[in-house]
């Protein structure tokens, strides 16, 4: 049972890594593909009707964008993981030990 679980985890890990890397490579090589809906739909329709989207007043330049995304996503990931463990794992252990 433990071996089966490990194999499934391993398979899922490799699939996710493969999927993400393939996605990254396709993004890096094909400029127009995988656009977000704000650009592919909202921006396009707005431009067709004479309202060109403008850059945000608070646009992040260079690696600052990467820094902010990594920092905020990392922090929120930690918060999600911490509370998920608290709600599901620690609470269950406390219930079993009668606390």
């Amino acid at each position: 049972m433990a071996l089966k679980r490990k194999l499934i985890t391993l398979f899922l890990s490799f699939s996710l890594i493969f999927f993400t890397l393939s996605l990254g490579l396709s993004l890096a090589t094909e400029e127009a593909k995988w656009q977000g809906l704000d650009e592919a739909v909202i921006g396009k329709i707005a431009s067709e009707h004479g309202r060109e989207p403008k850059e945000s007043f608070l646009a992040l330049e260079g690696d600052l964008e990467l820094f902010m995304f990594s920092l905020l996503s990392g922090l929120s990931g930690i918060v999600v993981g911490y509370y998920l463990r608290k709600f599901l794992v620690e609470h269950t252990h406390a219930s079993f030990s009668g606390k």
């Binding site: 993400t20 977000g36 809906l37 739909v41 403008k54 945000s56 990594s70 929120s76 709600f87």
Partner: protein
């Protein structure tokens, strides 16, 4: 750990992290103000409702932090849709509604959009009110209404979560399409722009909505098995 790795690898290409938000410069000033004021009123009401609820159940403050962080993560994650060739992200507010009710969903969505606009320059400042209205307000309302209706049929937590996730996602994009059509309808009739925007949204947003429903339904099932008390409809 797997999820962390997945998010990290996705974040290595921040140039492509686009959202569903209406960008700066698309909405006329009068409409930007209208959506902003409407959102402020709803957020004010939601804040008092949430404050009351959290003072009655202080242990739910941790749930609020969890739900807001999860909504932030989900709404920052652009998911590629094969064959269509575009990316979109889940809305996530249905999960906050599932844990905290309507007020919690609206305030979580509001905080997330505020962070995205000010710290990640996602969506414009002038369109912040419209984006808050479509995602935080309409998304949460739809999830909450679905919950009220489906609760009567004693469905499984998975089906309730699934419907909440799918409908809140689709309602958000329907509202965005309407806001866009309203902003651009000058010489062209509103209906034709709305139709065009909806047709363009559909191929990407149908699978993303289904995925969001599966995430919400999966979380509802996991909580129903181990922590039933955390689900709002069990309180």
């Amino acid at each position: 750990m797997l999820l962390g790795l997945f998010f990290m690898l996705n974040l290595l290409w921040p140039d492509y992290l686009y959202a569903m938000h209406i960008s700066e410069g698309i909405l006329p000033l009068s409409q930007a103000l209208f959506w902003f004021l409407l959102s402020v009123v709803v957020i004010g009401l939601a804040y008092f409702y949430l404050k009351k609820s959290l003072s009655e159940f202080p242990e739910r403050k941790a749930l609020f932090a969890f739900a807001t962080a999860l909504v932030f993560l989900l709404s920052c994650l652009p998911i590629p849709v094969p064959f269509v060739g575009t990316c979109s992200h889940p809305v996530g507010v249905s999960i906050a509604v599932m844990l905290l009710g309507l007020g919690g969903g609206i305030i979580s969505g509001f905080i997330v959009l505020l962070l995205q606009a000010f710290l990640l320059s996602h969506g414009g400042l002038s369109s912040l009110g419209a984006n808050i209205f479509s995602m935080a307000v309409v998304g949460s309302f739809t999830a909450f209404l679905s919950l009220i209706l489906l609760k009567r049929f004693s469905l499984s937590p998975f089906l309730i979560g699934l419907a909440m996730g799918i409908l809140s996602d689709w309602a958000t994009y329907l509202t965005t399409a309407f806001q866009l059509a309203l902003a651009l309808s000058g010489n062209t009739p509103l209906g034709s722009i709305l139709y065009k925007a909806l047709l363009a949204f559909l191929p990407t947003q149908i699978p993303i909505g289904l995925l969001e429903g599966l995430i919400a339904g999966g979380l509802a099932t996991a909580l129903a098995k181990r922590r039933k008390d955390l689900l709002i409809w069990e309180v």
